[in-house]
């Protein structure tokens, strides 16, 4: 057995330095040019990136992703036709009541399938998709494509919401290896609503995904080297958010230094204002791990409006939604929430915080702190310090609260962490 060399206690500073420099460079370049950073697919730099259908061709791919401890991990994934490896697999976006067709081409050395939890009457090659048996032993949760083969699934996406698609063959191995992705079904009444009924409108272009996954690098290395792995020894060391670990999680979509991890997780909003900004942002949580994931947004509660594609409303349309400061998503679940932030106290230079603000010499500034307590204001930074704050915007952290999981093989403050970025209402932010 090849000894598995563990990356121990690698200083985070190197990774931070590279990532932060790259982010800073991108911001500086972007500030003087167009308001949005140019991205490979021509899409937005933050928010959910949709691959539109309703017919999709997904081919399995293999590749490597980067982890916050400067390691790389071998992964499997699905990719849209013609595209290279990506992690996680593409976000498939369809409209309510469309017939969705997913053609799976399997290039991996073992059978692969796709299950669509929450979808009804899924067909595989035209027949109802059913578990596959060998004798009385289940070999796959649904018809699979053999190595080198294909299978076509179809279903009618009759319920709006967020869903997971993932491998249904040997899922304890194949799902952590990367065979999973998100499926978003948009309600008929419009893509800026979460569901067909209920009070769940959100602001256009403020739709975000929190897709929580985990990696046991020993499993991935065994697969990479075509060696056996005893799943009883499965112990995750990396925990990812949209396929990246912080600080990578807040890099833009399609960041060039993360070529196989296209999806960022930075949530970018402005303060609530009844006239100028009345709608919240949508944050869709999905959990493909095997345990509950308690995700904690600072700064405000998330309002849970639906779970597993079912809106939280009663038989007579009563509002059964609730607010949570920890969104505790069970394995395989999806929770749809909205969030906003309100300037409750209105602190500003004209209405200062009622304390004596210590001098910069007597506090420690964070990398994202602009130097002033007030939104839209910046202040002097410690001598020699670099700040990533651009225009006095606020950054408010969002992270998994099972805190040993916001580490990457022991390196703290990495993994399933993101930020809520709040730009002032009137701003010259890039």
């Amino acid at each position: 057995m090849v000894p598995f060399i563990k990356q121990r206690k690698r200083k985070l500073s190197a990774r931070w330095g590279v990532a932060l420099f790259q982010i800073l460079a991108l911001i500086i370049l972007g500030a003087g040019a167009t308001p949005r950073v140019a991205v490979a697919q021509g899409g937005p730099s933050d928010g959910i990136v949709c691959t539109t259908g309703p017919t999709f061709t997904l081919t399995t791919q293999t590749g490597y992703i980067g982890t916050p401890d400067d390691n790389v991990v071998f992964m499997w994934g699905f990719s849209a036709a013609g595209a290279g490896f990506q992690h996680p697999s593409p976000v498939l976006c369809v409209n309510q009541d469309e017939t969705v067709t997913v053609i799976l081409h399997n290039t991996l050395p073992e059978p692969v399938s796709i299950v669509f939890p929450g979808q009804e009457n899924v067909l595989a090659n035209g027949a109802p998709a059913q578990p596959q048996l060998s004798g009385s032993t289940i070999t796959s949760l649904t018809p699979a494509a053999a190595s080198g083969g294909s299978v076509t699934y179809s279903f009618v996406a009759n319920r709006p919401g967020a869903f997971i698609y993932q491998s249904g063959t040997n899922p304890a191995k194949q799902v952590p290896m990367g065979l999973f992705g998100a499926l978003i079904v948009r309600p008929t009444r419009g893509a800026t609503y979460l569901y067909q009924t209920g009070d769940n409108a959100f602001k256009p272009n403020t739709e975000y995904m929190v897709l929580l996954s985990e990696i046991d690098p020993a499993l991935n290395q065994a697969v990479e080297r075509n060696r056996p792995f005893n799943l009883n020894n499965y112990r995750p060391r990396y925990f990812m958010l949209n396929g990246r670990g912080f600080p990578d999680s807040i890099a833009p979509n399609y960041a060039s230094w993360l070529p196989t991890q296209p999806y960022g997780a930075l949530v970018r909003i402005q303060p609530y204002d009844a006239t100028l900004n009345p709608l919240p942002a949508a944050v869709r949580y999905l959990n493909v791990t095997s345990q509950d994931m308690p995700f904690h947004p600072h700064g405000n509660h998330g309002r849970v409006l639906g779970r597993d594609g079912y809106p939280l409303e009663g038989a007579l349309g009563e509002d059964l939604s609730f607010e949570k400061f920890v969104i505790n998503i069970g394995p395989g679940q999806t929770w749809d929430t909205t969030t906003d932030w309100q300037d409750a106290e209105g602190y500003s230079l004209g209405n200062p915080v009622p304390i004596t603000v210590p001098n910069v010499q007597n506090t420690v500034y964070g990398t994202f702190y602009g130097g002033s307590p007030y939104i839209g204001q910046t202040g002097p930074q410690p001598v020699g310090a670099t700040t990533l704050n651009q225009c006095g915007e606020y950054y408010i952290i969002q992270h998994n609260h099972s805190l040993f999981q916001i580490t990457s093989w022991g390196i703290p403050m990495t993994g399933p962490i993101s930020y809520l970025r709040i730009d002032p209402l009137a701003n010259s932010c890039p």
């Binding site: 121990r8 206690k9 112990r235 995750p236 060391r237 509950d292 308690p294 904690h296 600072h298 700064g299 405000n300 509660h301 009663g314 009563e318 509002d319 059964l320 939604s321 609730f322 607010e323 949570k324 400061f325 920890v326 505790n328 309100q342 409750a344 106290e345 602190y347 200062p352 915080v353 009622p354 304390i355 004596t356 603000v357 210590p358 001098n359 010499q361 007597n362 506090t363 420690v364 500034y365 964070g366 702190y369 307590p373 939104i375 202040g379 606020y394 950054y395 408010i396 609260h401 099972s402 805190l403 040993f404 999981q405 916001i406 580490t407 093989w409 022991g410 703290p412 403050m413 930020y419």
Partner: protein, 438 residues
Amino acid sequence: MSKTFTRRNFMKLGGAALAATTGAHLLPSSFNRILQPVHVVQGAVPEPDLFFAATDGWISLPVNPATTTIFHPDPLGPLNPVGNPFTTYIFGFRNVTGLDDTQIQNQKNKAQHSAPLFWTQQDTPFQVKLTNLGLALRPDLVDTHTFHWHGFRNVIPFFDGEPSSSVSVPIGRDFTYVFNSHDPGTYMYHCHVEDVEHVQMGMTGLVFVRPVQDGNTALYPSGTYVYNDGDGSTGYDREFAMFLSEVWAESHWADAHIQLPEWSDYKTDFALLNGRVYPDTLAPNGSIDPFNPVTDTNGDLIATPGYEHLQYQPLSSLVNCNAGERVLLRFANLGFKQAAMTLTGIKMQVVGRDATFLRNGSTSTSYATNTVSLNAGESADVIFIAPPYQGPGAYDTYLLYNRSHSQTSNLSAGGYGGQMTEVRVYPSGVTPQTGPNT
């Protein structure tokens, strides 16, 4: 100079402007400007409502053959007042409100767990000043500390205590957090610097906000409520904080012995309720009134005779009540694992989760249960009605414990040494509380 210029006097930048400028004028003039505070509050500066100190310390957890490893008990543990060693190194907060500078500095290496319980009134601004005393056992660690109020709605980063997006408090300095709590309910607070370490090490406590409806005795005779329910449905007679935390012995030993734990190997060796394990959860309270703290002349916590090992674990979990009373349990979980608190024999009504009243307009989403499930970072407000007294005996005993059995056991001899406490229902005669958990 009229008084000795000491480093400590110079570093006092909290409080009145006069103190800051007095210190500054003793420096070379080139230092004068850059060390002035950025913003000075004009006029009389109110004292903060609470003054907390962050430091390290030691607590006591049971030792038996099953729990004895190279990590537990920690041989570096100092002796308590009757000569028995403390077992577990912690970081934590202490309430140093009203202490003088000498007394405050004496509290280095005297942290408590759980951190001091406190509460605020809805819509009344509240200030918590935090100072960093440093770590006596780890002079090589110059960690800053912060105060993060977990779940506070619409917070600004400056007062959120998340170090990367705002400021944090270096050793020997202080910072005052301002909270204008508009949302009643049960929350928790913790240091957010290197939070996996500082939270695991014990810089965690429970805080709650009282609703403006408090004092209205027309809706419920006690005049105390969890939320502004408008109909008395969250009224209660007694309240108890039930704060959940965990100890991974290797990580605490590692911090005391200048080692680094592998966090992805985390496991719960001890699950704690209000900073203690059963049966210590039944032991009396130390000084727990945050607004009237009791200390000795050095500013130290006073051990209850017979419970000297709990000197730095002052918060009791014993629930005494009279039959028929409505009892509020405020649960908050700052462990890393899911907990499932079950109260045998008594129905629990969950009236709030995550400081949110379980009612939308006129639609109630409150529910009854036997087991309240809380993952890391969640809170719940639960009311039960003490059943009629049955006897024999002075009181009836109902067990409140974590249905996740390993966290109720903590590998104790006999199987019950963790997150468990007792609800004792008397026929009558239990005097009114003088504060939560009394």
